[in-house]
Symmetry: C2
Amino acid sequence: MGFRTLEWRDGALWLLDQRKLPASVEEVRVHSAAETARAIREMVVRGAPAIGCTAAYGVALAARDAVRSSDPERTFAAAVEELRAARPTAVNLRWALERLATKRADLLRAGASAERVADALLEEAHAVLAEDLAACRAIGKHGAQLVPDGQGILTHCNAGGLATAGYGTALGVVRAAIESGKKCVVYADETRPWLQGARLTAWELLQDGIPVTVLPDVAAASLLGSGRVGCVVVGADRIARNGDTANKVGTYPLALAAEAAGVPFFVAAPISTVDLRAANGREIPIEERGADEVTHVAGSRVAPHGVNVFNPSFDVTPARLIAAIVTDRGVARPPYEESLEALSLTGRGGGG
Amino acid sequence: MGFRTLEWRDGALWLLDQRKLPASVEEVRVHSAAETARAIREMVVRGAPAIGCTAAYGVALAARDAVRSSDPERTFAAAVEELRAARPTAVNLRWALERLATKRADLLRAGASAERVADALLEEAHAVLAEDLAACRAIGKHGAQLVPDGQGILTHCNAGGLATAGYGTALGVVRAAIESGKKCVVYADETRPWLQGARLTAWELLQDGIPVTVLPDVAAASLLGSGRVGCVVVGADRIARNGDTANKVGTYPLALAAEAAGVPFFVAAPISTVDLRAANGREIPIEERGADEVTHVAGSRVAPHGVNVFNPSFDVTPARLIAAIVTDRGVARPPYEESLEALSLTGRGGGG
């Protein structure tokens, strides 16, 4: 892949500005926890795993900010709280915050200095990034076996390199299938209102020379009925214990259309996306975003003044519509209460 | 309603330019059959009943063009053929062409002059327009009884005054329900790619002071699941003998989502939308439109160069998902083979 979604360089975090793609390829430099939270909130970076990695660097920056603070505990806690509130649905954000906060508490208990803690949290953020990339590769390897050869793969939103440390979850499955010699073409829902599919998925697949056809979200059911699609693969922002999956709004109706067409529907996500504390989808908070995303497109107002707007950012696909959940630790099949718990309790390889 | 979708004035047809709404309210003057066909093709006017009315005026203009032609038959036939090819899915277009062509043949057989024929076809076009308005009122009256009081009504695309001679089909049901004293709020799918919901449905409802909430198409399933919607009402471009209904792309997945949520799904259309020659939805031609509608929004390019596009303009909702079809002649219920045929064979009131 010819791009870096996020990268630590010259003492700061550099984020590829996903609001600007594909018209222009620009980076945003982030050098405080507050700037990190703003970048997540304003969707300079998006995608649950990429948000998790970015938040990890945000905590590392909070630890660095705390070194210079007269009240380090308060500075650090406020920064973590601002990061936590930036996007409510993706559990990877909470997971990353808790992982780095635990690391910090352990180090402080062991008598480490503020400087030593800041250095260690930066190392931990690097580890989160490296593990996410490895997880995407593993998801790809497991998922590639599920993909039928020579047929279309339909995806929604962007669960690609741009949504992760690189390689992608759903698009990692596509990349791995192609690397294994399968012939795949990708159909990308444009994904209103933010157009992650038309802007980001199309852009990153074309960077890799993978053929991609963009369609309005409303046309996905027709496409599925046409016989051109062998499977649907999407990412996830949070997966409940029973397999109910929160992902970009539009995933649930896509799963209904796949069911009606008899096309298998797969979710691809790192095990850190599974939230064993949520029994089912009703316990997952759904973020609503501003009206402007709907009333304006590409800077132009399309809806008249005076309309109300309903703009939830995610929806929940019930587990019964999901044929398999592909994680870095293997493929979970129904009943998910059992399979997801078993994979979650598997020991991690590497430094987790 | 404070606007005219189409109006014959000063020897020409004036069309409200629906490409420009809601940003600006402009009319396009059309004074030949070829200009009428172009206006339909380029969606200055859209919506199956409005296309039917416009096509009727197009045939009247063709008859006027033929008066001055050295080969009137050829001029007329070519003009009708261009009108027929302008949009393939809406059956109302074919219906209007056949109605006026039959009228012309009858007059010529009776020895009428070309001038007399042209005058008579213009009168016939006026009749088509007046009947469409009356049909919308009748649809409203029948449909208003189906609408639950005090709940939301979800609609897709624009099946309003802008899609008809006035008053609307699906929105005619809304208007009549409100006139009958029911409390209704409307939820309007924005309807990518052309944004008929965000641009047109929102605009015309606000003109009448009816509260409207716009949502991305992808959010409709979430809305239906929230309990805020009492029924879905959509228009139709062609209804097959068995009740399968072609309508704006996105209608079929909306019907799937309504079924999953247990919300009744109604179709509202004049009886001229029923095509008894089509046994089922597989016999309805589905128009595909250009890539630009998807790669560009409001004049700005959103998808990268090099992507393919899938852009069908309509889809087919199977009859099993439709609780009732509301026509100007009454409400058809399953089995539609029987109920639609019975309504189609009912004698017309008025001058048809």
